[in-house]
């Protein structure tokens, strides 16, 4: 179990995440550090596969906390994200109440007294007993705190954002029927977005805004080193250099870090010692996900390998 206390410095964050295999840039580490110090959620934006979701997982693993994940999608609403009433249970209780009506009203002599007793009983139906907590409420109820990952917030509707506002700023939720639920320990909240839709200002204002782009060559090499230990340094350099060249092309979907790691694994599996045109051609589909992209990259392979090799010498 790692320490539960907030991290003490940016370096501590960096090394803590590194211990979980997440190589963070200084900006990422600063964001994580600040979010703990001033208790603010982090909104992480950036292209797919650069490690937005991984960041939340790494924080949870490092700080030994539970991770609660809420995957957003169109039509996600209160009932699925926050809480829902257990309708069936409520209705079944009504049935039981019907049978027991005599007992409940047994002591009442007048109609007024009977009504009063029934009213007292009615409140029971909208109590904590009948609330089904969904991820957001669950996150608030964790006694030891947790990492709450609200994944792909840009896929949800605009209304859903408003629903989040109270949680993000005050770590509490108001349930009209019985009041406000505050977090026992404020969760560390990570929101991720692929910028499919522009998020509201109110939401952005409540978060630290972190943009994770494609990492610099050195950083990416370190990431590969930590994720794919079996790969030789020379090959690592070469392949990362190659990928950086590919990213300069105008492609439908640029290869991101997750593709780099996949490719490294494939290369290790194929026991490649260095890049050559043959092996790149055979494995290009790991890197590029569209037929058109592969076709666009094909003719460049040889030049890119040469370039990567050259930058090797100087880098």
């Amino acid at each position: 179990m790692a320490d539960q206390k907030p991290s003490t410095s940016i370096e501590a964050v960096e090394s803590g995440l590194a211990a979980q295999g997440y190589i963070a840039s200084r900006q990422i580490a600063t964001a994580v550090y600040l979010s703990q110090q001033i208790e603010k959620p982090i909104l992480v934006e950036g292209p797919a596969g650069v490690g937005k979701t991984e960041l939340a997982k790494a924080i949870a693993a490092w700080r030994g906390m539970k991770m609660i994940r809420l995957q957003c999608y169109e039509g996600l609403d209160e009932a699925k994200a926050l809480y829902e009433w257990k309708y069936a249970k409520q209705l079944l209780y009504t049935q039981i109440l019907k049978d027991k009506l005599g007992e409940v009203l047994g002591g009442a002599q007048t109609l007024h007294a009977a009504l009063g007793q029934l009213h007292d009983f009615g409140d029971v139906f909208f109590s904590k007993e009948f609330v089904e907590p969904r991820p957001l409420l669950q996150a608030l109820e964790q006694p030891g705190g947790c990492v709450l990952l609200i994944d792909e917030i840009d896929k949800s509707d605009a209304e859903f954002e408003s629903l989040l506002l109270e949680i993000l700023s005050d770590f509490q939720v108001t349930i009209p029927e019985f009041g406000t639920v505050s977090a026992i320990t404020p969760p560390t909240v990570i929101l991720t977005s692929n910028s499919e839709r522009d998020l509201g200002d109110a939401l952005k204002r409540r978060c630290l805004h972190l943009h994770i782009g494609f990492p610099e060559q050195r950083l990416e090499e370190r990431i590969v080193e930590s994720r794919v230990p079996g790969i030789s340094q020379a090959l690592r350099r070469q392949m990362v250099g190659f990928i950086h060249e590919v990213r300069s092309l105008d492609l439908k979907k640029l290869p991101s870090v997750s593709e780099t790691i996949d490719w490294a694994r494939v290369l290790v599996l194929l026991q490649a010692s260095e890049l050559d045109t043959e092996i790149v051609k055979d494995t290009l589909n790991v890197l590029l996900k569209y037929e058109a992209d592969i076709e666009a990259a094909q003719p460049q392979i040889t030049t890119f390998i040469a370039k990567a090799a050259r930058s090797n010498v100087f880098g």
Partner: protein, 458 residues
């Protein structure tokens, strides 16, 4: 440092980053956590708390670099500060300063500024300029025309008057020294001018941009100069984007609401009220239907350009829009607007029906003949045009029928109310059949009108 941060927030606003008080508090808290010694980390922290998008991050990063390339002004006690610097300067380097000259038997007591300039202590001078720009509140600079006044304010705050006196006095007693001082003063003026320019770059961008946008928003669309057209397009696109953000909804969405207790109980009556089947409340909404008729004739060619741009964005916001363009005859352009980029679509539409002389009558005949059936009691019809029909039959009777078949008929006219009804304007005759008639000559009016139309559907 707090002062300095506040100045930075102002500079950030200048760079187009929206910094509200709440955000500045966050930034302060963040800075309190990370400290200010490590500039790279300070930069990260400010970028994280203040910038809300990648564009803003870039702008703010540039702003940060520009801002912190200046020496920090010492606003708390400027006077004492450079008094101090100056005396230090003269203490440390008596041979090069006034002391030596004075030692030669000329009892001229020079002002602190003169001493500082003669001692050529660059750091001290830079610090003095910085604190003087603080005293002259350089961060209030807004327009490039203010450069002169701020320069002289800063120089005054540094003690220019005293320096002049010194120079005058020295010219008589020690011409060489006076010459040196004059040269140093010229250099100082230049340095101050640079500082002011930098200040202008830091603090004034937003104001200038806002002002320009404000003017543009209220400028008549028909009289936009050629060089402004691109800016205007950008503005309209910005308006369109805002409309889209405000009103667009995902096309498919679940309409399930809360449990409908009454219907649930009724439905389950057969089982003694035990809820086997649940019934849910549904939200229902009007199917949005808009039909837009856009005049693209010569007389309104420039305005209709912008109209089309806006209709193009309307297509993105509302599901069910059909658009028609006309000058002497009318064609449907929905498909062109939906499939093509705004520029391509506009070029194609203009080449098909644009720039002719307008004939509202025959265009309305075209519409009645082919498209009358698209109108339902839920439809809002928007007509964009100046209602100038070149003295041809306006066929207001067709407009009446359109109005009768639809829910609302909105007419947006780029001409001012005063012109309606004069010359060949048929506006008064058409207006009787419209639910709303609005003048719509500027970007702002255009935005309001379209926003109102779209809003009724949400």
């Amino acid at each position: 440092m707090r002062q300095n941060l506040h100045r930075f927030f102002r500079a950030a606003r200048g760079a187009g980053v929206h910094v509200s008080p709440a955000e500045s508090i966050d930034a302060m808290r963040a800075v309190a956590q990370v400290g200010i010694t490590d500039r790279a980390i300070l930069r990260d922290a400010l970028l994280l708390t203040l910038a809300k998008s990648q564009d803003e991050k870039l702008a703010l990063g540039g702003c940060f670099d520009l801002f912190f390339s200046q020496p920090e002004p010492r606003q708390d006690q400027p006077e004492a500060d450079y008094e101090d610097n100056a005396s230090q300067g003269s203490d440390q380097s008596p041979p090069s300063g006034s002391a030596s000259e004075a030692g030669e038997g000329q009892p001229v007591e020079l002002g602190s500024l003169a001493q500082m300039l003669l001692s050529q202590d660059r750091n001290a001078i830079a610090a003095a300029i910085a604190s003087a720009s603080g005293a002259a509140s350089l961060s209030d600079i807004r327009y490039s025309t203010q450069r002169g006044i701020f320069s002289s304010r800063i120089l005054d705050a540094m003690g220019l008057q005293r320096l002049r006196d010194d120079v005058d006095e020295l010219t008589a007693t020690n011409p060489t020294l006076a010459e040196r001082l004059r040269a140093a003063l010229d250099a100082l003026r230049e340095a101050v001018r640079d500082t002011v320019s930098q200040g202008l770059a830091l603090y004034a961008r937003e104001e200038a941009e806002n002002l320009r946008n404000e003017i543009l928003r209220n400028a008549p669309l028909a009289r936009i100069e050629r060089r402004q057209v691109a800016e205007m397009r950008a503005l309209i696109r910005q308006i369109a984007r805002r409309l889209r953000e405000r009103y667009s909804k995902p096309r498919k969405r679940q309409r399930r609401g809360h449990l409908d207790v009454r219907r649930t109980l009724r439905r389950n009556a057969a089982w003694g009220g035990i809820p086997f089947l649940t019934a849910w409340k549904r939200k229902h909404r009007d199917r949005p239907k808009i039909v837009a008729l856009c005049d693209v004739s010569g007389s309104v060619a420039q305005v209709s350009d912008f109209f089309l741009l806006l209709i193009h964005s309307l297509h993105e916001v509302v599901d069910d829009v059909r658009s028609f363009a006309f000058s002497s005859h009318l064609i449907e352009v929905s498909e062109i607007l939906e499939k093509k980029s705004p520029e391509e679509a506009m070029a194609e539409i203009m080449s098909k029906v644009g720039f002719g002389s307008s004939d509202y009558g025959s265009s309305l005949v075209d519409f009645e003949k082919d498209f009358m059936s698209t109108l339902t009691p839920q439809t809002t019809v928007i007509v964009l045009g100046d209602a100038r029909s070149n003295n041809l039959d306006p066929r207001a009777d067709i407009l009446r029928r359109i109005s009768e078949r639809s829910k609302r008929l909105v007419w947006l006219n780029p001409e001012g109310r005063l012109a309606w009804g004069f010359g060949d304007s048929e506006m008064p005759r058409y207006a009787t059949f419209c639910s709303v008639v609005r003048q719509c000559a500027t970007a702002q009016q255009l935005e309001r009108a379209v926003s109102d139309i779209v809003a009724t559907y949400q």
